[in-house]
């Protein structure tokens, strides 16, 4: 068949989301990406794979989101010198993904592309590629110095502030290199990869059943989104149909995760503008929600609640009604706090026009998730591709055009309320029946999971080989959003960086893998 938006032969992939696969010659990649870009398709992910065990060479994969669904393009590459024309010219967000692919697989974009390393620091040598099939995952190399070529900013009065990888607060490790004049930030350069712990290689030693637990630990704050995306990919690859009740429960779990994360960040955003009251209040509410999570689903952050085939624990009627009562009480509390935040002159002064990302730049760079919506990008997988359980609920898209910290605060507040509404609707209409279907016999097939997590879209692209994982690429929305943080801080003062950073709250672990 042909893709609706593009004259290209595609094969629909079984699974919950509309996904189409196509093979293209590497040389055609820029052209296909150019057409796609012209038709408003956005880049979701780019990754590579070693196909030598399948008597081929390597491959580079690109996932693009069209209105009709996700297009998974694969370009086969030769065994010797696997190169492809880079696509960062069309999709700037591809830059770091291409560099990670070069570090892990030795699959490089052509001359002219950014050739600096990204995930590799000094833990393995340049000519060694951990994601190649021949690589022994247990092998340890002597640490080499990193020697990363940061861009130096010159000029009168310019100086650098290096921050991290160990930060001043309870934050994940990463390095930020600020070039400043006085208090103003001229340039920020991020150096990530500190948390690279070989997740993708680890997946390749696992069966489809074993992988679920690891998927839930790619980025702990998005464990539900990842677990659901993983389950969706496995269900697609095996042709398993999860029961309706399980899908509704997954919806409840995902929205609980969204509420918990937004509440925590709204508290920290208060804290970062010296409104410690906000921190105490929101973390009180979050704690109450986490305790209910633990009681109802056995885990404060809902880890391992979603499993391939369904969910691991049912929600009895009485418990569901208790959850509804808690959320109704919590909604009133959050409304009170929203009014306090909005009327607090000091907080608003810090929030408004701080860390601005305008819609045009957000679109060009592919900012996604709630941060994208706060920069006028009206995209939300729950709205754009309404699959069960969201199909019947008509989720409301919340957006704001200003793209500053205040807009991200507003979108978070509104998303908390909307998630509460969705949970109440899901509880009321909870289908009866089983909560888990047995996994169908594995075929060697591909599957895709694609979920709107609280931060943005989480993608799992899976290629199974019988019961085993041949290749799995988990893609965090932070890949797209990190480069925008570098832009958001331009012209802001250094003391506003923690506030701007927290307003996005991006994942290090999710992008470092």
């Amino acid at each position: 068949m042909k893709l609706k938006e593009l004259d290209i032969e595609v094969e629909p992939l079984a699974g919950a989301m509309p996904v189409f696969r196509a093979s293209v010659a590497a040389a055609e990649l820029p052209e296909v990406c150019g057409w796609s870009h012209a038709r408003q398709a956005r880049l979701v992910a780019l990754w590579g794979s070693d196909e030598t065990s399948r008597s081929a060479g390597y491959a580079v994969h690109v996932a693009l989101a069209f209105p009709s669904g996700l297009l998974w393009l694969s370009a086969p590459l030769p065994r010797g010198n696997p190169r492809y024309p880079g696509i960062a010219g069309t999709y700037p967000a591809a830059d770091r993904m291409q560099r990670a692919c070069a570090d892990l697989l030795g699959i490089r974009p052509d001359e002219g592309a950014d050739a600096r390393k990204w995930l590799r620091h000094g833990a393995w040598p340049e000519s060694t590629y951990p994601l190649r099939k021949e690589f022994d995952p247990g092998k340890r190399f002597a640490q080499e110095p990193d020697r990363y070529p940061f861009v130096a900013v010159a000029g009168e009065g310019v100086h650098e502030i290096p921050v991290g990888p160990v930060h001043a607060g309870t934050i994940e490790p990463g390095h930020f290199r600020f070039s400043i004049v006085g208090e103003k930030i001229l340039r920020l350069e991020e150096r990530l990869g500190y948390k690279h712990k070989g997740i993708e290689k680890r997946f390749e030693s696992m069966t489809l059943a074993e992988g679920a637990k690891l998927a839930g630990r790619i980025s702990g704050d998005s464990t539900v989104a990842y677990a659901w995306a993983y389950a969706m990919a496995v269900e697609g690859a095996t042709g398993t149909e999860p029961p309706g009740r399980a899908l509704a429960l997954r919806g409840i779990l995902l929205e609980l995760e969204r509420i918990a994360n937004h509440l925590g960040d709204l508290g920290y955003l208060g804290n970062d503008v010296a409104l410690a009251f906000g921190f105490s209040q929101f973390w009180r509410l979050k704690e109450e929600l986490l305790r209910v999570n633990a009681r109802l689903f056995g885990h404060r952050y809902l880890m391992d609640a979603i499993v391939p085939g369904g969910v691991s624990r049912d929600l009895p009627r009485a418990e569901a009604e208790g959850l509804v009562r808690l959320l109704e009480a919590m909604r009133r509390e959050v409304e009170t706090l929203q009014a306090i935040y909005e009327e607090h002159a000091g907080a608003q002064d810090r929030f408004i026009m701080t860390g601005q990302v305008l819609p045009e730049l957000a679109e060009r760079m592919g900012l996604n998730g709630f941060a994208g919506r706060a920069s006028g990008i009206k995209r939300d997988l729950r709205v754009d591709y309404p699959i069960p359980p969201y199909q019947q609920l008509d989720p409301r898209m919340i957006s704001h055009p200003r793209g500053d910290v205040a807009a991200r605060v507003l979108v978070r507040f509104e998303e908390v309320f909307e998630s509460m509404r969705l949970i109440l609707a899901l509880v009321q209409e909870l289908p009866t029946g089983e909560i888990r279907s047995p996994l169908a016999q594995s075929r060697s097939a591909a599957g895709v999971g694609w979920i709107e997590g609280w931060r943005g879209e989480v993608l799992i692209a899976l290629e199974a080989e019988g019961e085993r994982i041949h290749r799995l690429h988990p893609h965090d929305p932070s890949w797209q959003n990190w480069p925008l943080l570098e832009h958001a801080v331009h012209g802001n003062i250094v003391p506003d960086f923690p506030l701007i950073n927290k307003s996005f709250n991006l994942s290090y672990s999710g992008q470092d893998l």
């Binding site: 640490q143 948390k195 070989g198 997740i199 630990r217 973390w283």
Partner: protein, 172 residues
């Protein structure tokens, strides 16, 4: 301002009693003397180091600093630099890309110091294990006094681990 005060008064104090220390969490016998422990017990400065976690343990360290647990009432506070710290709270399997940074942070922490490893990954390497990219458990890189299992451990368990580290326990 009135709304803020009203909300504070309406909320009241939610802080719960602190848990007792738990000798089962101790990885190495207590090395510090009574005098030092007496001081640590009244004003303990903690530096958190994420050495490669999935960020799940960080969620619980944040929660620990919330009003339900409120460690500051016990004299426990989180500080911005290892040079101000008495205790390192380390999460994650130690990624090889964080190995040097963790070791340097430990070296920058003045003696006498304590290390508490947090989470299944900090205790054993967890699901990530040891590999080309992961050193595994925290004690593979720096000496650990107390190890708190859990995925992630609850704030109560983390607090219990910290209190165990500064309690006398069995002498080495």
């Amino acid at each position: 301002m009135y709304q803020i005060l009203k909300q504070i008064a309406r909320t009241g104090i939610v802080t719960e009693p602190a848990p007792p220390s738990d000798e089962a969490l101790r990885a190495t016998a207590q090395r510090l003397g009574e005098t030092i422990l007496k001081h640590f017990g009244r004003a303990l400065a903690i530096r958190h180091v994420d050495a490669g976690s999935c960020n799940g343990c960080e969620l619980e360290i944040h929660a620990l600093n919330g009003p339900y647990y409120n460690p500051e009432r016990l004299g426990i506070r989180f500080v911005a630099s290892p040079r101000h710290a008495d205790l390192l709270l380390v999460t994650g399997p130690v990624s090889r890309n964080m190995e040097t940074a963790l070791r340097r942070t430990w070296e920058a922490t003045p003696d006498p110091k304590l290390v508490v490893a947090i989470g299944d990954c900090g205790c054993t390497g967890g699901i990530f294990g040891e590999s080309y990219a992961s050193c595994g458990r925290v004690s593979n890189v720096i000496p650990v006094d107390v190890a708190v299992p859990g995925c992630p451990p609850t704030p109560t368990a983390i607090l219990q681990g910290i209190l165990t580290a500064i309690s006398a326990g069995a002498k080495a």
